[in-house]
Symmetry: C2
Subunit: 209 residues, 2 copies
Amino acid sequence: MSTAIDPQAPLLSAPKVAKPRRSTRTQLTPKDWIEAATDLLVQRSVDAVNVDSLAKTLGVTRGSFYWHFSDREALLTRMLQSWRDAATEQVITRFEREGATARDLISELLSLPFRGRAATRASSIELAIRAWARRDELARKAVDVVDAERLSYIAQCFSALGFDISEARSRAFVLYAYELAESFLSGQGTDSQREDRRLMIERLLLRPV
Amino acid sequence: MSTAIDPQAPLLSAPKVAKPRRSTRTQLTPKDWIEAATDLLVQRSVDAVNVDSLAKTLGVTRGSFYWHFSDREALLTRMLQSWRDAATEQVITRFEREGATARDLISELLSLPFRGRAATRASSIELAIRAWARRDELARKAVDVVDAERLSYIAQCFSALGFDISEARSRAFVLYAYELAESFLSGQGTDSQREDRRLMIERLLLRPV
């Protein structure tokens, strides 16, 4: 048989092959469904998250969804729960580690939005969940709980630095606002402008009243 | 004929009647289509914005859409344009009015997120457009332009107060971040906590370095 290269085949493009289908559908975990659902939420919207689309994306039958979830509503609840858990875990890992000073934690928080692709992905998920929360009570509650928890840990840092409770809460709000804005407004400013504003806000927030 | 009330009819429920259809479909303007499309964007997502749904919502035929727009893409472009125009007009009306001092403008900006239902509606539209911008280049450009324009006017206010250019830009970013956070995190804090943080950020941002 000839092994000659097809002259019609485009250079540098992958051959079109069917996506491999999972042969052992029982190996899919609830986490796989939740991740695929989160992708759909970001790429489309919560309306696009349904059993048919997910089964198709994961290459399994519709039926296998019901091994893990009673219905679509149960999946949506688990998605939000999983986002909340990850956010809470992240907060606890960051703030409750031994030896970190309040000052370190604040500097670290200020540099968070700059950490590459993972940060972009996380902020796309957050934006999608916040947009969903505008029209869904369950999503709104999840967002409120996550925001409240983050704000409350940041406020503790400012309290540890000697600010009174009300002042610490206000400063926490400003720091959190800055973090959200850096992640949502990723197109604004050059690297050096971003660095300028990070230094300025650190100075503003740490200076005593 | 009997006028007796149907004993099977439920109490306190409106009779089921067909929604009135517009008799004069030519009276619909592009603005009507754009507003209906924006509602769909907020309530569902950009995927839900299509000619069929819109025609149904507005009670007109599919065909009448094409009197105003060549296709769905043209409508999406006009939606973004219309949001940008409104944002730009708002910025110019606010910042270029006679007699307003830079100090007044900054105080006014800090109190903006608290202005009721219109503010909530505007922030829901912004969130929906920002979520859409994560997966669409056209939407991303519109968001970047609006953010840049708002930031640049706020920076001018800080320049007018005597801050140097880089410092003015950084302070503008913090003020804008605070505004966005108050509008996106509407569930956080009591009225008096909100008032505390507004006063604190005003103090922080107006104080010279």
